[in-house]
Amino acid sequence: MKKYNITVSPDFKPDKIAGWYIFNTYLQQAADISLHLNLYDGFEQQRKAIADGQVDLIYANPFDAAMLVNEYNFKPLVKPAGANDECVVVTSADSAFTSIDDLVAGTKIAATDDPAINMIGMRMLEPANLNEDNTETDVVVSFIAVAKQIMDGKAQVGFILKEAFDGFSNMVKSRLKVLVVSEIDVIYHGLMAAPSLHERAEELSNTLMAMNTEPKGKAVLEGLGFNAWEVMDDEDAAFMIDLMETLRS
């Protein structure tokens, strides 16, 4: 049986690693397909693997959707139901800043290398006339590391995925002040298939969509932090890609 490679956007939460391995095992059995899960440390390594044709199925960051669809002819299959990518812009709880408008040129930002969250975060700073040219960004390894930078006074604002922020302990949250939370609603991760899997795209979509209808599939989804998959068709992806394009500058 031909073996295909599956990968996950490197911004997945560390506590979901086991969940993705279990998902990989589940999908192989449910769809009778041979899959090998490769996890990459960063977006650049993952993009190189995509360019080298080493990715057949990917749970992709929305920032990479345009590249995957337009340059490599990936086909969108499904997206997690109700799980949008939103950004929380935080500052320290004892900071004098009470709104984005209070920020000034030279602001130091703490962020991860999640390209979608960083783009949304930068757009949220625009009302204060801040952009990539008049701010300084410190890239750290995780969203909790972003929170730590803020709590330690090493950066004035931080960009955090809302899902990660919601999972922070009350102790961490109490030391942060939320300046703004994005409510964009239409930017999300999605599972996409390379041309090597196009002929099995419909079958894979059907298998994924049925996961929440049986106990084992439901448990696997819970391990990923979702309740169900939803169809992501070509137009859904095209709409999101157009919207992301408007946010690029």
């Binding site: 408008d101 625009e126 009302p127 703004v180 409510e183 239409v186 157009d242 919207l243 408007t246 946010l247």
Partner: protein, 161 residues
């Protein structure tokens, strides 16, 4: 497009007649009441090649003051404010015709005669190599940029006379 209705207007207003490209004239009533841009949100709409709205997100509907069913199928210029200079739209349509992205600061008109400022980005929706419509996304502008554009557009309007 239908004229605005004075009964929908909230507060003291002034009457203007807009000349809409290819779509005749529209009588509008404007007030000095500004609605602040909703924090963290994007205002999103999609129009077809004729400028008719085919999709409007919740923030678009809320900020416009119209009901969704009053917007779908209507021309995007339902939001056209008389303080916007014609040259700003000419630049937009030139970019659109070439299939290029457009950015700009825009003062939009609400159903109740009030207004709101946005920073708008518009991209063509290319499907199978053809432009099928345009997606417009509006973000919260900085107050400094808005003040700059109030003066800039005032000057451009004066040159139209």
């Amino acid at each position: 497009m239908n004229d605005m209705s004075p009964t929908d207007i909230v507060g003291d207003y002034q009457e203007h007649t807009l000349e809409l490209y290819k779509h005749g004239t529209r009588k509008v009533y404007v007030t000095d009441i500004e609605t602040p841009f909703p924090e963290g949100k994007l205002i999103v709409s999609v129009v077809d090649l004729d400028g008719n709205i085919t999709h409007a997100n919740k923030a678009f509907v809320e900020m416009s003051g119209y009901q969704e069913n009053e917007l779908i199928g209507e021309l995007q210029s339902i939001l056209r404010h008389p303080d916007m200079p014609k040259a700003a739209y000419a630049d937009l349509w030139q970019k659109m015709a070439k299939g290029e992205k457009w950015h700009g600061y825009v003062k939009n008109l609400r159903k109740d005669g009030g207004f709101y400022w946005v920073y708008a980005s518009i991209v063509p929706n290319v499907r199978n190599g053809e432009i099928k419509g345009y997606t417009s996304v509006r973000r919260k502008p900085s107050r400094e940029k808005v003040e700059e554009h109030i003066e800039l557009y005032k000057g451009m309007k004066n040159e139209e006379v």
